[in-house]
């Protein structure tokens, strides 16, 4: 199966601004959406953003942003879109370059079936209409990391069109106030990535690495239905989750880019039509290259690729070689559970709050961790949710770790929650055990409990005895309590706990103390 999308190549976007009020629309300066030229490899299909004037509400800014996005997601196939070269991150420069990738004269493109499947699956996941026939075009421009002098893309008739992407945004302050919004997906097109230019300013030369040249990209065009950077970021995040569910890996570039634009907008800056790429070292996006005014890409049909024909079970030509045809219905059956459905399932199955289901999905690997804990523990799902989202995630965040880097395994947490569930330990003791587990010294929760003597005092007689002696030893506190200070009971509970070396349940202690005091 195609494991789509590994790298988020870059996201062009189209911002437009509508002056809010009086029903009149004005667009401001250069950052308009009318020139749709984010990336130099970008579609020239005119993308007029939809600008809607809304009545200004008190306190709202005068300008409303309209955000459209063009997202380039790298397809994580084993080989490139039109050649047999391997796709592999961080290989030595120019080590993954076929004759076609280097544009040796006479070489021809051969379409990679897996990339097509990835595009179709993405289209289906986004409720797109899958075009039964799509076409490839050449887009011309001279650039040192574009060996053929043109990029093969789908300008006229892309593989998928007219989809939609639903995403949830928080409105108001409470996390539970979530609203579902929808952004239209204009199209999804297959296209080639370019190579990489490494500029050596010191020697004033440019080095070219063609490893990336020809890797398959999905260009997703989202209509300007989003009204702010935050919405755009949420939509992109949802898209990311969908692509990952289809077999995608982490991509954090888009978030950064949107944050940068939000900042820029808030600071009153102008967003130029430029393509930015993500610099892993700097942790930010940087302009990829100067945009040279208006460019005519001189689009032309790619004559070496016949139209891409897709079939469904009804239209499949009889006797067709299954290796030569793609059946959309078959791909639809193979679609995994999509994030939206997963979240609904979590809410229904485990009774968790919708926002909790969001957190579980948003953190890479967290859902899987959660499900593994659930599988192995007898503890209530709500308890598991709370532990995973509060304690576990809290520890991860504090140390800036990914789920995969966690020192605590799902089995260990499950065992710990079991101990808690059968009241073998108290909740505070469980926290203590968790901290020990986090230190990762290879001990099981049971071992830690035994070593630290954290198991709850199971003998009621012993507890009675300890309570009684504590009351006798601290008449001043008892007096304080009897004078009406309600907090004095807590002090007593604390003293008993100390005496039990933390092995008694505070609720049980309280019960015994109150009984003894009232008798």
């Amino acid at each position: 199966m195609a494991a789509p999308m590994l790298r988020w190549c870059c996201s062009g976007r189209r911002f437009a601004f509508a002056r809010v009020g009086c029903g009149s629309c004005h667009r401001r300066g250069p950052p308009t959406g009318s020139t749709s030229n984010g990336k130099r490899g970008q579609s020239s299909v005119a993308q007029q953003p939809h600008i809607t004037a809304q009545k200004p509400r008190k306190g709202e800014p005068e300008w409303a942003a309209v955000v459209g996005l063009e997202i380039h997601a790298q397809i994580a196939s084993n080989s490139k879109l039109f050649s047999g070269s391997q796709v592999c991150f961080a290989a030595p420069p120019n080590s993954l370059v076929s004759f076609f990738d280097a544009s040796l004269p006479g070489t021809l493109p051969v379409l990679n079936r897996r990339c097509v499947e990835a595009a179709v699956m993405t289209g289906l996941a986004l409720d797109c209409h899958i075009n039964r026939k799509s076409l490839f075009d050449r887009k011309h421009y001279f650039y040192a990391d574009l060996p053929a002098g043109y990029q093969i893309t789908q300008q006229r008739l892309p593989i998928a069109v007219n989809g939609s992407l639903a995403y949830s945004v928080y409105v108001g302050r409470k996390p539970s106030q979530m609203v579902t919004r929808t952004v239209r997906v204009k199209q999804i097109q297959l296209e080639q990535d370019s190579g990489k230019s490494l500029h050596d300013d010191l020697r004033s030369q440019t080095l070219i690495d063609l490893n990336r040249a020809g890797i398959g990209l999905l260009e997703l065009v989202l209509e300007p239905d989003m009204s702010c950077g935050e919405e755009a970021a949420t939509a992109v995040r949802e898209l990311q989750l969908i692509l990952q569910a289809l077999g995608t890996s982490q991509a954090n570039m888009a978030d950064y880019e949107i944050q940068r634009q939000i900042n820029e907008l808030e600071n009153g800056g102008e967003i130029l039509n430029e393509t930015r790429s993500f610099d892993f070292k700097l942790g930010c996006t940087v302009p990829m290259r100067d945009k040279e005014g208006k460019q005519d890409y001189r689009f032309m049909p790619e004559p070496n690729l016949p139209p891409l024909l897709l079939y469904d079970s009804g239209s499949l030509p009889s006797g067709a070689d299954p290796q030569q045809v793609i059946n959309i219905d078959q791909l639809r059956e193979r679609l995994p559970e999509l994030p939206r459905v997963t979240r609904q399932r979590l809410v229904q199955q485990y009774g968790m709050l919708p926002e909790h289901s969001c957190v579980l999905l948003n953190e890479v690997g967290l859902l899987e961790f959660f499900q593994n804990v659930i599988k192995e523990t007898r503890a209530e799902p709500k308890k598991v949710t709370s532990w995973v989202l509060n304690t576990f995630l809290g520890f991860l965040k504090q140390q800036n770790l990914a789920v995969s880097e966690s020192p605590v395994t799902p089995s260990a947490l499950a065992e710990l929650l079991d101990l808690l569930d059968r009241k073998a330990i108290s909740a505070p003791a469980a926290k203590q055990v968790f901290e020990e587990l986090w230190r990762n010294e290879g001990k099981t929760p049971a071992q830690i409990v035994a070593e630290k003597k954290l198991e709850l005092l199971q003998d009621p007689e012993a507890l009675e005895q300890l309570c009684r002696s504590t009351l006798e030893a601290h008449p001043d506190v008892v007096m304080d309590l009897k004078r009406g200070n309600p907090r004095a009971i807590n002090k007593l509970i604390g003293l008993v706990r100390k005496a039990t070396l933390g092995r008694a349940d505070p609720t049980a202690i309280k019960e015994v103390l109150e009984r003894q005091l009232s008798s």
């Binding site: 544009s103 004269p105 006479g106 021809l108 001279f142 001189r298 070496n304």
Partner: protein, 523 residues
């Protein structure tokens, strides 16, 4: 001598591949002044001959082409052998891979004698516009032509009045015509195989688009290019086509269905055939001699019982201008890769990347190529695309439909002239520029490429000047075999004379002196 018969002789040991190879190599040397070859791959050929000889000795040859000397136009990629397209841009470029057609020939044991001359990037109809100079038509030196010239008292300054081969596969046509190889690969985009075949008195086959792989053929117009086959008889063309035809995973435009090698039947009865004569091909520019031979051929079919009928291809006259737009547009696109970065020529300037591109392309391409790039980019501009490119595509569809309609009306094969006239002297040819010449010379051949149909030029007779004239047969798409069967019948009827180059071979010292090729050892 037919390839099949040579193959039998090789099997019976009457001649060895090495002997055959050496004989061709010596002929290549003797005819060097024709300028048919850009590169002679002598060592490769001799090595291949040695291998072939071993196979024959063991009694298991690889097929009919084992040990058969062939030549390849210098716009097919050949692994380890320089491939120039007769352009400064690719001078010194040694490809790391073989074109599929080249590989298929080598897999059959064929001996690669060398790479043949052409117009730069196959843009031309004379084989006169490459950086290695023009190709000379072997018929310029034939007994048949020389005697006619003496009769017509044109004896003065014979050697400066040599004839062009036509093109752009002129090197391949000359190589086959002068016996330096048994078959040669050409390429055919608007007539580039059939045109020189007609002028050089050989068979020139343009197979159906998609029947033969283009992988490794350095493109002119991807949607029209087809590897062409030049041989001395129709049977040989069929033999070579049998080896080359079929799906290639490296060329997505090749047919999926498997193609089996075939032998052409000898047709005895043509009474069930319907031959179409397109009336639009009777143009004022057509020489009376070619016209009369064309009629004669039609009469021949009719007299043997075939149905000969006049048909109409109404959009023929738009073909030239339509071709011009589509060709230059694809050229502009295809030539974009020649930027001096990955391979080929690179200028000395290193002021900036852009300056390097500009100077490299200025130095690397000739005027013809640059002119076509310029026009093509004009047609592809956003503001012009609809008015030129899209319109041209629509006209192309109309032209293709013309053929469909004719074939649907029951016509099996169309019979047309290949060229307007016989080959003209070089001095005559260069009076017009490349564009005018190409437009004139491709008039009967170009529409076929637009429609992707198979067509073959078969030499029919000698003109009053003693020069070959060929006629063209056009078949239904992927009915190449039927087309060749008809061509074979025709070839048998007309008994085209063999070129008489004996005089040239025996006594070419004068020629060599003229050409200042003293370095070539004679005997």
């Amino acid at each position: 001598m037919q390839v099949i018969m040579v193959s039998v002789a090789l099997k019976q040991g009457q001649i060895t591949p090495t002997e055959l190879c050496q004989r061709c190599l010596s002929l290549i040397k003797k005819t060097k002044f024709l300028n048919a070859y850009i590169t002679v791959s002598e060592e490769v050929a001799l090595k291949q001959a040695e291998e072939s000889e071993k196979r024959y000795k063991k009694g298991h040859s690889l097929g009919d082409l084992d040990g058969i000397p062939i030549a390849v136009k210098d716009n097919f990629s050949t692994s380890g052998i320089e491939t120039t397209c007769a352009s400064n841009m690719l001078k010194g470029y040694v490809p790391p891979y073989n074109a599929t057609v080249v590989q298929k020939l080598l897999d059959q044991g064929a001996l690669l004698m060398g790479k043949t001359n052409l117009d730069e990037f196959a843009m031309g109809s004379g084989s006169t516009d490459g950086i290695f100079g023009p190709v000379k038509n072997p018929w310029s030196y034939s007994k048949q032509y020389r005697e006619k010239r003496k009769q017509n008292s044109h004896s003065e300054n014979e050697d400066s009045n040599w004839l062009i081969t036509g093109g752009s596969s002129g090197g391949s046509a000359a190589a086959v015509s002068a016996f330096t190889c048994f078959a040669a690969l050409g390429s055919d985009t608007g007539g580039s195989t059939r045109n020189p075949a007609a002028h050089c008195g050989v068979v020139g086959l343009k197979p159906s688009y998609g029947l033969v792989s283009r992988h490794g053929l350095i493109p002119l117009v991807n949607s029209m290019d087809v590897p062409g086959i030049l041989t001395r008889c129709v049977d040989d063309a069929a033999t070579v086509l049998g080896v080359l035809a079929g799906h290639d995973p490296k060329d997505s435009t090749t047919i999926q269905d498997p193609v089996k090698p075939f032998t052409l039947p000898s047709l005895t009865d043509v009474s069930k055939l319907c031959i179409g004569i397109p009336k639009e091909y009777l143009t004022p520019e057509l020489s009376s001699e070619v016209q009369s031979l064309w009629s004669k051929a039609a009469n021949l079919f009719e007299s043997e019982g075939a149905k000969v009928t006049e048909v109409s291809l109404p959009h023929t006259s738009y073909s030239i201008v339509c071709y011009h737009v589509l060709c230059t547009s694809e050229v502009a696109s295809n030539m974009a890769r020649f930027d001096g970065l990955e391979y080929g020529h690179r200028c000395d300037s290193d002021v900036s990347t852009e300056a390097m591109y500009a100077a490299t392309r200025r130095e690397g391409f000739n005027d013809v190529v640059r002119g076509r790039i310029l026009s093509g980019n004009f047609f592809l501009l956003k503001e012009n695309y609809e008015n030129y490119f899209v319109k041209a595509q629509k006209v192309r569809r109309l032209i293709a439909n013309d053929f469909v309609n004719v074939f649907n009306s029951g016509v099996d094969v169309l019979l047309t002239p290949t060229t307007l006239s016989e080959a003209v002297p070089y001095t005559e040819f260069i009076k017009e520029d490349n564009r005018t010449r190409s437009a004139q010379d491709d008039i009967f051949t170009q529409a076929v490429n637009m429609a992707g149909l198979p067509a073959v030029s078969v030499p029919m007779a000698l003109s009053s000047q003693g020069l070959p004239i060929g006629l063209q047969f056009i078949g239904r798409a992927f009915c190449d075999q039927q087309l060749l069967t008809v061509a074979k019948w025709f070839e048998k009827q007309v008994q085209f004379p063999v070129i008489q180059l004996q005089e040239l071979m025996d006594d070419c010292s004068s020629v060599f002196e003229n050409e200042k090729l003293a370095s070539v050892s004679l005997k």
